[in-house]
Structures are given as C-alpha cells and as structure tokens.
C-alpha cells in the first residue's frame, strides 16, 4: 500500500491523518461543553425544564464525542516522540512546557470534573454540579489556548535562542506564549469551534423540526443555534481577515499560495476567485479574477504592490494547489454560514422560523459544514507553512525520527484501520443519538394535551426515550 514512499512522507501522512481525526472532536467538544454550561445555567436560573431536557440530550452526545477526543489525543501526545524525535529534542524545551501546562491546567480539569458533570448531579447538588459543568467548559477552552500557543509558536517563533546542541532555548516566556500569530489563531479557532457546534445543534434541531415542527425542544435548540450563526459568523469572518493580514506579515509565502499569486503584481494584485493551479507551469489556469481586489483586502489600497511566489526560492515554497483549494473551501463555507444566518434572521423577523422548511432542510445539509471548514482551515495553515516545522528555522525533513519506512508504514496502516473502525462506529452512534427525538418533558408541562399536537406523530415512546428529566 505504501511501497516506495519515504519514511518522511509516511510520517507526515500519519501525523496529518491522526491529527485530522483528532481535531474534529475537540472542535465539537469545545463548543458543546460551553453550550452545556449555558443550558445548565439557564435551567438553574429559569427552572424551565426544556433546558434540563436539552442538557441531558446533548450531554450523552458530548460524552461519546469527548471519549473519542481523549483517546485520539493520547496518540498525539506520544507521536511527537515516536515519529518526530529530532523535532522533539530540539523544540521540546520551548513547546514542551506549554504542553505540560495544557495537561496540568486543562486536561486534568476537564477529566476531573467530567465524571461529576455526567454522573454527579444528584450526588453533589445543583450548585457544585453547575460548577463542574463550567469547569469542563473552561478546561476545553483553556486547552485550546495552550495548544494554539504551541502551534502558533511553530508558525511565528519568538523569544528563544539556540544552544550548542541545536536546541531552542527559551529566553522570554511572555514572547513565546504570546507570539505574533497566537491571538489571531486562538480567536479564529475558538470561534470556529463555537460555529461548528452551532451548525451541528442547528442541523439536529432542524431535522426534528422537519419531523414535527411543534417539538418545543427542537424549536429551542434550533433558535439558539441560529442566533449563534447570526452573531458568530460575522465575528469569525473578521477574525479570519485579521489572521490573514497577520499571515501576510509573518508567512508571506503561505498567503501567496492561498491567493494563487505565482507572479508579483507591482501595481495592484487581483483577487483570484477561482482557477486551477498548474504547479508545473507555475500559473493558475482558467482563472476568474477581480482586478486589484487582493491589494485592497490585504493592503487597503487598490494599487499597492504585492509580491508573488516568484520572489520565493523554490525549495522554500509550500505546495500551492492544496493550500489554494483548502482555503477556498473554508471561505465558501464561511460565507454560506453567513448567508444562512441572514436567512434565519429574516424568517425569524417574519415570525416563521419554525415553519421555514427550506431553511431547515438547508441546515440539515449544513450540519457537518463546520467540521469541513475546520479541516480545510487547518490544511491551509499547516500545508502553507511547509517545508518547515518551526517556520524559517527547522525543516520538516530535519525533524524526523531515525525510523525506517516499513515501521512507519506498518503503524500508519494500523492507525488507518483502527481509526476508521473505531471512529466510524462512534460517528454512527453519535448520528443515531442525534436522530432520537429530543424532548420528553411534554407530559410534565402538560403541553401534549393541547391542540398543538397535530397529526399524532409524537407518540408516547418519545416521552420515554431516555431523556427524562433528572435521569
């Protein structure tokens, strides 16, 4: 299967494969943990049982997704050593302590309070249970903060010197933690996690509205999710734009690849909306472009000059086609999300949010879109910083462990087989749980006796579907 590939390429594929599988779960659990904390807070505050019902519904889904995130994360914490040992030895003194802080301040917090959040409501009482739920949510965001600091340092290294054995030696921890690209990357990723979760929650709400538009639990989650889409999407587009400007400053070659600028434009660069990168000829074929718009976006001046990849030595260029495409996928999804937010606002204003069947159908289709955008965004930034692991200082080819290709090929095969089996099954269970009708509080609230139960498509079994208040 992997004949003829070098150990380096195999190790890169293995890292890309395992980290891509992994990031999907944190992206979801960061957002969902915060959503659960909000739901639990609203339940305690308003005593409206619909929030408790939604909490219990999403809690089970969270538990499965979180378990998948934990086990795929343990793999990541050891893979630096097994496959990228030279990188670990050299960069360990800088990024290792940050990762240790992630573990000590965030992982333990999440894991320590998760049990109480899932199993402990009756044992510790509502106040401490709320505290535990909040700690889990806080832990997920804190974890993202540390790991994005690590990742950002690899993109925009700062605050270090080199010692005689070639290690990066920390000199200024403030400069290391708050390295130039960190604030932008953190904002962009945390917003991405919230948006991803909003679209999953909204998609699930929409699915159940299509089945029964009177389901109050489905209405509530759909409405909450659409507010998130309205508020967070514009913020995310703004954060992405600022992140892009930061990339222009620190990693211009990546931005050239994202824009598809093979050539320099001394008097205003066009925005290439679409085209097919031709890496052999170093040009974009069949391109549709808008003159000078790229200079306007990046330099706020129609005629500002922009350098292209022709100014970058060939052996320092990232692969253009992957970056070009993944960037466009991310952007397209971002604007689709914005459009849906506006659409929902309009239908809400008209008082038809729960009757907007086409909006619901679109949301069901868009439910996984956040994951695609997150992966596309990470591919853009990680492929775009090649051929370096520590940007400008340490090449990927110099980071590899002294491992033989057959060993990496064997472990890669094992990871692929196991991940598709295990996470495939997990995704199936998650989807089945999301397919279950939310609710189960109608009887208590006496609503099922009212006239809004129309065609009898919500029979008694839904009330017993395991989402009963108080477990």
């Amino acid at each position: 299967m992997f004949d003829g590939m070098t150990a380096e390429l195999l190790a890169r594929i293995q890292f890309a494969f395992t980290v891509s599988f992994h990031i999907v779960f944190p992206a979801f659990s960061i957002g969902l943990a915060s959503y659960l904390a909000v739901l639990n807070g609203l339940w305690l505050w308003t005593k409206n049982e619909i929030y408790l019902s939604l909490f219990n519904y999403w809690k089970k889904i969270f538990a499965v997704a979180f378990a998948m995130g934990v086990v795929s994360g343990i793999v990541m914490s050891y893979q630096f050593g097994t496959n990228w040992s030279v990188f670990s030895d050299k960069a360990g003194p800088v990024i290792g302590p940050l990762m240790a802080y992630e573990i000590l301040s965030a992982f333990f917090l999440e894991a320590g309070f998760l049990g109480i959040m899932l199993f402990g409501r009756e044992r510790v009482g509502p106040g401490l249970h709320m505290f535990a739920t909040f700690m889990v949510a806080f832990g997920t965001v804190l974890s993202a903060t540390w790991i994005l600091s690590v990742n950002s340092w690899m993109h925009t290294p700062a605050g270090f010197s080199m010692n005689e054995v070639g290690q990066f030696v920390p000199e200024d921890w403030w400069a290391i933690v708050f390295n130039p690209s960190f604030p932008y990357r953190l904002a962009h990723m945390v917003l991405a996690a919230y948006l991803t979760t909003a679209f999953v929650v909204g998609g699930v709400g929409a699915l159940h509205l299509l089945r029964d538009r009177t389901n109050i639990a489905a209405r509530k989650m759909f409405s909450m999710a659409m507010w998130m889409a309205v508020v967070v999407t514009p913020l995310q587009i703004l954060a992405g734009d600022l992140h892009g400007l930061n990339t222009l400053e620190h990693q211009p070659a990546k931005l050239m690849a994202m824009e598809g600028h093979y050539d320099s434009y001394p008097d205003g660069a066009p925005l290439i909306l679409f085209g097919i990168p031709n890496e052999a000829e170093k040009r974009i074929d069949y391109k549709i472009e808008s003159p000078k718009l790229s200079s306007l976006i990046l330099k706020h001046d129609l005629n500002a000059p922009l350098d292209g990849l022709d100014t970058i030595p060939d052996d320092e260029e990232p692969p253009v086609a992957i970056v070009f495409w993944s960037f466009r996928i991310m952007i397209s999804i971002g604007f689709a999300m914005l459009a849906i937010g506006v659409w929902s606002l309009w239908r809400r204003w008209k008082g038809e949010l729960y009757e907007a069947t086409w909006l619901h159908r679109t949301m069901v289709l868009m439910a996984p879109s956040g994951f695609v955008a997150v992966l596309a965004g990470w591919i853009t930034t990680e492929v775009g910083r090649q051929p370096y692991t520590v940007y400008g200082l340490m090449r990927t080819s110099d980071s590899l462990a002294p491992i033989a290709a057959p060993a990496v090929a064997a472990s890669l095969t094992a990871f692929i087989v196991v991940y598709f089996f295990v996470f495939g099954a997990g995704t199936f269970y998650l989807m089945r749980m999301m397919g279950k009708t939310p609710g189960g509080i109608d009887v208590k609230m006496g609503l099922n006796k009212g006239p809004i139960r129309t065609a009898g498509i919500t029979p008694v079994q839904q009330l017993n579907s395991g989402v009963v208040a108080g477990e």
């Binding site: 630096f80 360990g92 290792g96 894991a111 309070f113 920390p170 921890w173």
Partner: protein
C-alpha cells in the same frame, strides 16, 4: 544553585508515572477481568465503578509523556523511537478500551464487540506498558542524541516477563478494587480471585527482582554494596509487610486493606526500579542531568506545576470522594 531542578523534575515525573500506574492500573485490571465476569449485569457494574474517574486516570499517562517532552525532551526523543512498537500498540489498545466506556451502552447487537475491545485493549495496554518498562530496565542504546538500537531490541524474555507481571499485577488491583466497590456474591468471587492473583503477582515481581541486579553490574552494586544495603534492604522488608496485610486483609474480608496493600506492592516495586536506575533516567545512556532541558524550561514549568499538581490531587480526591461507596445497578447515566 539553590535547587537541583533536574532532580526535582525527575521526582515529579516519577510521581506522575506512579500515580498513573496505580490509578489506571485498577482501571485496566477491570478490563482484563471482563471476560471472566458472569453476566452483562456484572460487567455493567464493574464498568460503572470506574466510569466517572477513568478519564482522569488516563490523563496521568498524558502527563508522563507531556512531562518528559517538556523537561527531558531527549528522553522523549530517544525512548519513544526505541519503544516504537510497544508504544504504538499501547496507544491503539487505549483507543479501543477508552471508547468502549461509551460505545458499550449505545448498542445491544454490538455489545460483545465493545466488551472484547475493552478486554483486549486493557490487556494489550497493560502488557505493552510492562514490556516498555522491561525494555527500559534492560537499557537503551543512544548515540548522537538519537536511538541507535534495532527495531526489535525491546523484545526479550525479560521484557515479556515484566509485561506479564504488570498485566497480572493490574488484574490484582482490579480485583481488589471490585472487592471494595461491589457487594454480594460477585464481591466474594473477586475476593477469592484476589488470592490467586496476589500469589501470581508476588511470584512474578520476585522473578523480575531476582533477575534485575544481574542485568547490569551497576544495578547489582546499587542493591548489594555496603552501606547502601541498609536502605535498599528496607524495600524487601516492606514488601513482606504489604504481602502480610494483603493476605490477612483478604482472609478477614476487609474491603479497603487488600486494595491499599496491592497498591503498596506497586509503590514498592516502583521504588525498587528507582533505586536501580538512579542517577540514570535512560540506563545506561543518559543521566537525569544529561537529559534535562535548559534551566529556563525547567523553571518556567516548575512554577505552575508546584501549584497545579496539589490542586489536581485535591479535586481528583474530591471526585473519588463523591463517587465513594458501593456501586449499584441504578448508578450511571446511560
């Protein structure tokens, strides 16, 4: 320098690994016991006895790896390639057993698959951890800051022996944990099984302890030279005491004593390894000081660690306190 940072850090990492071995030890042990339980009801109970805490338990393993990366990057960069196969196998095994905690409750038709995943994952993880330990005790060859040995150097009769020892020892921890957390006939069966597992664990630990001093003259000198023997001699005495407490506790149907005694055996075994190793962190190639990261890394990491580890211990203890007492069928949220 006022503090020997590298030495302090070696102590912290050793502590994290020890906490991991104790906490995830009984948790993996329950997985190994899984096929020997009589019904799905018993398996539900056994799993629920650790479900609220397994996540935290496994985080100590991440801490062991992450801690090495942070303060002994050279160890991380040489030991992991040397143990490529057992580490990868362990990680994959942990994937299977970790997800089984949730998946098992989500299906009837495939429950057997996740039962098997929980058992197989736990067993393989335990074996691989023991094998990794044995391989480290045997020594790892390092040249120019890189692993210089072969891909299968870790696999020897000795490492297989340590692998089996750890697996059997974890099963003993699991059985004594269930003796503490379960009631009735199921508890009684676990109590009886603990006798056999205790004998097996002691025999295996004895075997490993007898072989270890002869693997390396340094180890031998550490244990059998005067006057160190005054200190090293304490270890076997304490082992004898823990053994006595374990068997009398089991005989007299105490619930907590056998579990604590079994943990003590692990602590003492761990101390024994520490005595053999010191001052090496990767025998016979790297001492603690040779492997340490620059002082600026050690200092920065230490400041937070001395605050955070006590906090972690407090809320971890609190989580165990919340879920104290016997597990009953109605517990669990599934």
């Amino acid at each position: 320098m006022a503090f020997d940072l590298a030495f302090i850090w070696a102590g912290i990492i050793a502590f994290a690994v020890l906490v991991y071995v104790i906490l995830d030890g009984f948790d993996l042990g329950i997985g190994i016991l899984f096929p020997f339980l009589k019904s799905e009801g018993e398996r539900d109970l056994a799993m629920n006895s650790v479900a609220p805490v397994w996540d935290g338990n496994e985080t100590w393993l991440v801490m062991g790896g992450g801690g090495l990366f942070a303060v002994f990057p050279l160890v991380y960069a040489t030991v992991l390639p040397a143990l490529y196969v057992p580490i990868t196998a362990m990680l994959l095994a942990l994937v299977f057993r970790g997800v089984a905690f949730e998946y098992r409750w989500r299906t009837e038709r495939w429950k057997w698959v996740w039962n098997l995943a929980f058992f197989g994952g736990s067993l393989i993880a335990a074996l691989m951890q023991g094998i990794a330990l044995g391989a480290l005790v045997q020594g790892i060859e390092i040249e120019n800051r890189a692993y210089a040995g072969g891909w299968w150097d870790w696999l020897t009769p000795f490492s297989v022996l340590t692998g089996v020892s750890v697996a059997v020892g974890y099963t003993l921890l699991g059985a004594t944990w269930l003796n503490l957390k379960i009631e009735g006939e199921f508890q009684e069966r676990m109590r009886k099984a603990s006798f056999g597992l205790a004998i097996g664990t002691l025999a295996l630990i004895g075997g490993v302890s007898l072989i270890t001093p002869f693997l390396d003259p340094v180890y031998f000198a550490r244990w059998f030279s005067w006057p160190q023997m005054l200190f090293t001699g304490i270890v076997p005495v304490l082992v004898a005491f823990a053994t006595y407490m374990l068997f009398t506790g089991l005989r007299d149907k105490h619930e907590m004593t056998p579990f604590l005694a079994a943990i003590s055996l692990f602590v003492l075994g761990f101390a024994g390894i520490g005595i053999s190793f010191y001052p090496y962190i990767v025998p016979p190639s790297l001492t603690i000081w040779e492997a340490a990261a620059p002082d600026s890394s050690l200092e920065f990491a230490l400041v937070g660690t001395v605050v955070l580890i006590p906090m972690i211990l407090v809320y971890t203890a609190y989580a165990y306190y919340v879920f104290r007492g016997k597990v009953r069928p109605e517990h669990g949220y599934h």
